[in-house]
Point group: D2
Chain length 360, copies 4
């Protein structure tokens, strides 16, 4: 169950950080879609390590190989499987530490769930590396959505206490989203972005790590997508977003802040746009969704990421084999902040979710 | 899709606010479970209207009738269906307003999705009333969970700006949760609870409404429940919680606040409890879940509810038939704050989700 | 799992033969479909007992009550639930026999599966009576299919050794199918039909029972419905058909007989129909399906029903409580042959399956 | 939908006959299962081409590569993906024929369904070659079932008109099934097997092909597996079996023949086995299933395969591009009878279905 998601379109992921390959199978794509492989590559690079100083030095090019479902440069409509070989593995780093449970990682819970048989090297199946095939699938989904005018984009809203509050929920522009997707560190305000990155590097020097918040928008969605109750747009997207390692909160529109508003402040009053005759709302506190269904406004949500659990500081933990208390200092190559590389992953699962919702 | 949820156990809801009956079918329950109907009734009453001044005057007793799957006071293992007849309907109240879209309700999105064929009376299938069968199912699920020692409870963490910050994520006690479940207005601190209720009544007088935050804990879960990626505990629970009308945010453990912590602050260091030999963490910023899987700590999450969209103040909106701008003053019986009645609904979907997760 | 089926459209059944009510919820119907309730009633009557001498004397009118999802004579698009009250129950007949396992019934397997907690009265959830809500759902599905030109019909191909072999797999006419649907005993050749009924009455006099084969056709299906492998038309339909109690075989087109043909005999050669330019085959040994997908030919299949297991002859069996061998003579009201009443059930699940397949 | 199957355990297939690789991902396997790769290889060889004169000369070794979910010789519990590279491809053979629809193949239906974008080379995703990963998955499933005592085996019951009727539905022995699984041509009676093979070679010489029937047994299943209605054992197995290319009929126990029996002949009377105290039936006309649930008897079913549609005789067909009638003589490497190689495929999907059913 854990590796398959979707109603009309099924996404099946597989792989471990230090296994032979990781990958994804997408079943239910419509036939005849011309895929822009360069564009998929560009998306893969947004997530790939090694782009700047604030990401891990693990050198994985994340080159994908499409095994099936793709013929004469187009989707066939049959299951499309793509794999990514793991190349820069240093499995021995992990061998000696296999019984020392890293705090706030899935080492302990994975050990219990899989009775100790899981591949512990580099976090195994729990590794953020498994998000590479998800970004592949998201890139495919994005291309199909784009052909219907739907655009997904996001910015880093905050890192630690540094925040930018400049996202217009009513008039967010497609150009802004496209521009952000080409930035290595996607902040709207470059000055704030530089401050954020400095803060991350400072934490790195302190052998520590930081978290942050990603804010995402989806534009040009048809009105009427989603359903009340168990297939609400919020249900589907939060389900997928909480699948991403390190996510601890998801909120739509005004989110938690809406609980502090009065009805007369929170309600999104409707009006008919004079030029187009289209129906709009004056505010967008509901983030483009009412009753689980898209209205005509931009879909807006925020995702909270915790600081990378891998830090070089001494931490208290346990040895699961010896059943005794011990300490750990996590060496090796890890990101001082995962948020930058998580942005394309948030967009990818959003694209997967939206594609499934509009395909039903 | 919208009305059916579950993997091992399938829950199918149906009904409209002013139709003949609303209900739910639960498929996959184990046979031989003795149901305490009095206890189910008590849960139904927690959600039912009319308990105090801050809930709607609509008089529905929410009496359920079990049609199947129940024999000799026990579950049979075959689908259990329960229905609740709608009695106190004042459908004509809605007839005249059917083309005036209430702001922040699902009137407009439902109209588009269902091409105008949905039952608009009282919100139809979008009505909070459909949460009554969900509370029924949750009550059944809770009883099964309780037989395995698992306890679910919650308090109202905030109403508008009034907040109580007294929930111990590490040592929350079963007694506290049970005590809360018997309160009409479940705050931990009674003085704060009274302040919250006064604030709600004040808003009511102002023809306005308020929102708030519900905080929930699940105790004594087995370690190792849930899965990485698409069946993470967070994914499953957020999916269900975002199905509840009016929810706009869900966060686990430290939630959005964790994005402002450093790794060395956020990480939940592990230790072996000297007496029991059990494995615990010193803090619980991950809310009892790592890698999508329960560790041994209490499961903690918060849910943000928006203020009731139905307010008596004048609001700008549209007439969908005439396609023109207009205004609305919503008369009739509505809650000035839905949070109090939403508490058992949050617990119900949590029980449904946990039951499905432990049954797999 | 056992009571819910469907991909795009979910059908959830519930109920026991002697419980309060049986029913079905259909989720995913498109909104605005005008339902002809008289026509649904007519379908229900085809299955209902008491139509002629060869069906049980249990007097159930099978009157349905629609609880939800239906407004102003049309579907709303939200879950449609219909129930049928059980009225003519004689539960005491079964009380005394509850430990005597009726041969070839599900008494023993149900007892084991449900640990003895299942409702044993009249077969409980295993009763053929649960096919009444299935016929309801099938009647709804048929109406939607009919609006797209798709017609389903069937005849009784054989009862015991009496058989009619007069179904034209290539040119079966809509008129014939409609005519058959109005016959109480749907044989194409009335003389053979009378012989079949005599054979059934003879078996009844002998305190015995008979089985038979139903042959079904679906006309005017769009080409290209279904999928290779796990969602083949044969997979979907056989899955549903084998859900009907008493079915022991399903075959498409030439079925088992095709295994005795040579390729040069079996292959359905193609040609372009001169008038229409449509693509047809000279023969239809594949029953309208190739690679799991509809071609342009009539969909043809046959379903084998076993003789009613309830017979009045003395049979050897066991007492499950005493764990000893014993004998049984099944008294009470039972059909000497279920085939006549099974015809609308076969058509109903076919309609459900086809509706789901074309909705994806 | 078409490539993913399973409730508790999800199987996702992918691949085309002449693409880079074909494969399968199995999600939900329990961790710690030691896999016997030699045994999996042996199963793969049973299906692989080139074993004797009656199978195609295409030279594929069907060597699998496990990419994930397998660590230290055991399953990890995370998704297990295996791929098989396509090596002996002669794609040009197909290029020139791509518009000539081969009769009784999926060429035409696939062309319509996928709007002409499917990979037509060698049947693409419709190819019997895609059953190789299914046999891999079945081999894994069989090993897990075997560890619980469950054994699956089968024989070729008939080829054309040559038949062996020597399968004991009540006392079929594990030794017989094991012996059959080691035969290249699994008939119980060697003399009949030789006659069958001669018949196949004769058809081959005549540029024709033959079909046949496979009969399968599953022993030592726990009593109480499966469910009434939509998850009956017959529903689950027939769903999977009809996914296999060329299957046109499935019957359980006495199958179609049961429709010609009287109740007093068909009913499986029960008794308590004196030695063991276990509950048995005197006959096994229901093939080990009642009410969709296993009783204690062997599970028995038969599967009808059509003759290989690829024959070298001249056949009438159409050119889909030119939209005109034409003829075809299918050259190249094809099996004169697929039944021999289909036996392990039938067993494989049976193992997949049973594993899922007992895992729920």
């Amino acid at each position: 169950m854990s590796g398959v998601w979707g109603n009309k379109i099924k996404f099946s992921i597989f792989g471990e950080s230090h296994g032979f390959a990781i990958g994804i199978t997408i079943d239910g794509l419509k036939p005849g879609v011309k895929l822009d492989l360069e564009d998929i590559n560009r998306e893969m690079k947004r997530r790939a390590p090694g782009q700047n100083k604030i990401s891990t030095a693990r050198n994985e090019k994340d080159e994908f190989e499409i095994l099936s479902g793709y013929f004469n440069e187009r989707t066939t409509g049959t299951p499309l499987c793509a794999i990514i070989r793991n190349s820069d593995k240093r499995s021995k780093d992990y061998e000696k530490m296999k019984n020392i449970m890293r705090p706030s990682h899935a080492d302990y819970t994975g050990h219990i769930k899989y009775s100790g048989f899981n591949d512990y090297r580099g976090g195994g199946h729990f590794s953020g590396r498994i998000t590479a095939p998800i970004v592949f699938a998201g890139a495919v989904a994005k291309q199909i959505l784009k052909s219907e005018g739907i655009v997904i984009g996001s910015h880093i809203k905050s890192i630690h206490y540094i925040e930018e509050d400049n996202f217009d929920y009513i008039n967010v522009k497609e150009e802004l989203l496209n521009k952000l997707s080409h930035k290595v560190f996607p902040s709207i305000d470059d000055d704030i972005g530089i401050k954020m990155q400095k803060e991350i590097l400072k934490a790195k020097e302190e052998k520590d790590s930081l978290g942050g918040v990603v804010e995402c928008a989806v534009l040009n969605l048809p009105t009427g997508i989603g359903s009340p109750f168990f297939n609400s747009v919020e249900s589907v997207l939060s389900h997928l977003i909480f699948s991403i390692p390190a996510v601890k909160g998801v909120e739509f529109g005004a989110g938690f802040q809406i609980s502090k508003m009065k009805g007369s402040q929170a309600n999104d009053e409707l009006y008919i746009e004079s030029e187009s005759g289209g129906i709009k709302t004056y505010s967008n506190n509901n983030g483009g969704i009412l009753g689980g269904i898209t209205n005509s406004m931009p879909l807006i949500f925020r995702v909270a990421f915790k600081p990378t659990p891998s830090i070089s500081k001494v931490q208290r933990t346990i040895n699961i084999e010896k059943k005794e208390n011990t300490t750990i200092e996590i060496e090796g190559r890890h990101d001082p902040c995962i948020v930058q590389r998580a942005v394309p992953v948030v967009e990818a699962v959003t694209a997967m979710g939206i594609l499934d919702l509009i395909s039903i």
